[in-house]
Amino acid sequence: MLDPAILFPSILNGLTTGAVYALIALGLTLIYGVLHIINFAHGAALMMALYGVYFLHEKLGLDPYVSLPIMVPAMFVAGYGLYRGVIARASHGKDENILLVTLGLSIILENAALYFWKSDTLTIETPYTLSTVNIFGAMISTPKVVAFGGALVATVILLLIIGKTNLGRAIRACAKERQGARLVGIDVDHVFAMSFGIGLACLGAAACFLLPAYYVNPQVGNGFVLIAFTIVVLGGMGSFVGALLGGFLIGIVESIGGLMLGESLGQIGIFVIFIAVLLFRPQGLFGAKA
């Protein structure tokens, strides 16, 4: 069963899936790290982005990778507006309220998708959907390899934005000490909305990399919500490097779990990890910060 000839491709597969998971989790961990809120609508937002990529391909014939410069800004604007228009107004200063509001948003988005586009599972045909790349003898599908590279590039860009730009400095300042940030003249509400927008922009990129090898239906986001939370918790809430490593780890766990326990039971590993980390090491495997 643990023949290296099966194990190696399965680990590679897990790594490529994990890269996209990491990209989704990065958006979530940014929102958590800065705003200290848990965005339960993250999965529903990803589902919307996937539909966006799907319709750009079906109606305009755009290749999913060409859709990147459309989807990323579009999701950013949606996130900025959503934060300013709904989430900021509903908090009343309590984290649980935001959790409930984002739950409400996810219910709305998911059922709006069900109403407009029905519950059919949709896929797209691209010239490279079925092609594979040979990596040391393991055949990995081309879209997954591209997704792996794309997710890494997106992560680097995100880290550069946070680390090197003025906006990034403001974001980090607000994450650490929002009162102090306000005192030195930072428009905190604007920075919060920007962070939320960037968090959703990550989903726009993730959707473009995901769709060629994946599918979309109104419920597709649900599967990603708990996985993304698991990664965020595993990597330490608010830690970018943690989210990246956590994404790879979860991708591999899922892949090997599926190999050893079967498709249905294999998923259980992720949730057991989630519960165990929350209970025994809530600061995450890689983070020492609270």
Binding site: V101, Y115, F280
Partner: protein, 311 residues
């Protein structure tokens, strides 16, 4: 005292209802409202009175439903004997999850997520093992007699769910009027101060999640008896968790009649949308979601908050 009279009046009115109302639609509506009240109140015990927002109450509902069906189908137990087992099992699952999460100090959003994860774990387990019928689910044999807790008419189910909903309302009344209830709300409002005054916060929360789980499990047991079928998605899917939380939050958290008000509003809305926008999957849920957002934005105390400081 006044709340107690209100509960008695409600029970009396509903109990006499079948004498005057023969419309199957009306009886069914009342059954669904009382059923939603039961689920909402179960959530309210932990979420409203205790301040611990669970996103995975389906874990208790499903456990009750599966205990009820497995005990009857696989062990041939009578439904009246299976019911207390299902309720106790639901309570025990609550104790177990509570012991783990509260022991390690999980609160707020973390608690919500961990309950959701537990529900997912149970769903995958129920989906995998033949013991619970795996993905196919379990079907109860048809035995329409009160001795088997199945009824030929809707009236029987009306009385069954009325009894359960009344118990849930009385539990909420007891929380409003007992020392334990005061401890629970004290822990919700400020756990550290409560602990400083000598309240054992861990034990108080543990009792709340056990009661909440037992009530939710009775809802699952009722579901199985009425529809005679259960599968992993119905039992442990997120929609049942959301239904429970919606009724309590929209009606008013931490109140006795909040879940009842929420249940009435939600079911009236869903009937209206079904009438005016037929063949539209998801529309009533879009309205539910919008209602949840609006209530939290503008009326955090729910509909019950409109009635002033009434209990």
């Amino acid at each position: 005292m006044r709340s107690l009279w209100l509960i008695a009046l409600l029970v009396l009115v509903v109990a006499l209802l079948p004498l005057f109302v023969t419309s199957g639609f009306a009886i069914n509506f009342v059954i669904m409202v009382l059923y939603a009240t039961l689920l909402g109140q179960a959530w309210n015990i932990l979420g409203g009175f205790g301040g611990q927002f669970s996103f995975g109450h389906a874990v208790f509902f499903g456990t009750g439903a599966y205990a009820m069906s497995v005990l009857q189908v696989k062990f041939g137990l009578n439904a009246w004997l299976a019911l207390p087992c299902a309720v106790v099992l639901g309570g025990l699952v609550g104790t177990g999850i509570g012991a783990l999460s509260f022991r390690y100090g999980l609160k707020g959003s973390y608690f919500s997520l961990v309950t959701l994860a537990f529900a997912e774990v149970f769903r995958i387990l129920a989906n995998t093992f033949d013991f619970t019928g795996a993905g196919v689910g379990l079907q109860l044999p048809l035995k329409e007699s009160a001795a088997d807790l199945q009824f030929a008419t809707k009236t029987g189910y009306l009385y069954a769910v009325l009894a359960l909903a009344a118990i849930s309302l009385l539990t909420a009344w007891w929380l409003k009027n007992s020392r334990y209830g005061a401890w629970l709300t004290a822990v919700r409002d400020n756990e550290d101060s409560a602990a400083a005054l000598g309240v054992n916060a861990f034990r108080v929360k543990l009792i709340a999640i056990s009661i909440s789980g037992a009530l939710m499990a009775s809802g699952g047991a009722f579901y199985v008896q009425m529809y005679r079928y259960i599968d992993p998605h119905i039992a442990y899917g997120s929609s049942i968790s959301v239904e429970a939380l919606l009724a309590a939050i929209i009606g008013g958290m931490g109140t006795i009649f909040g879940p009842l008000l929420g249940a009435v509003v939600l079911h009236a809305l869903s009937e209206l949308t079904r009438n005016y926008i037929p063949d539209a999957p998801g529309v009533s849920l879009i309205i539910y979601g919008a209602l949840l957002v609006l209530i939290i934005m503008f009326m955090p105390r729910g509909i019950a908050g409109l009635f002033g400081r009434k209990r």
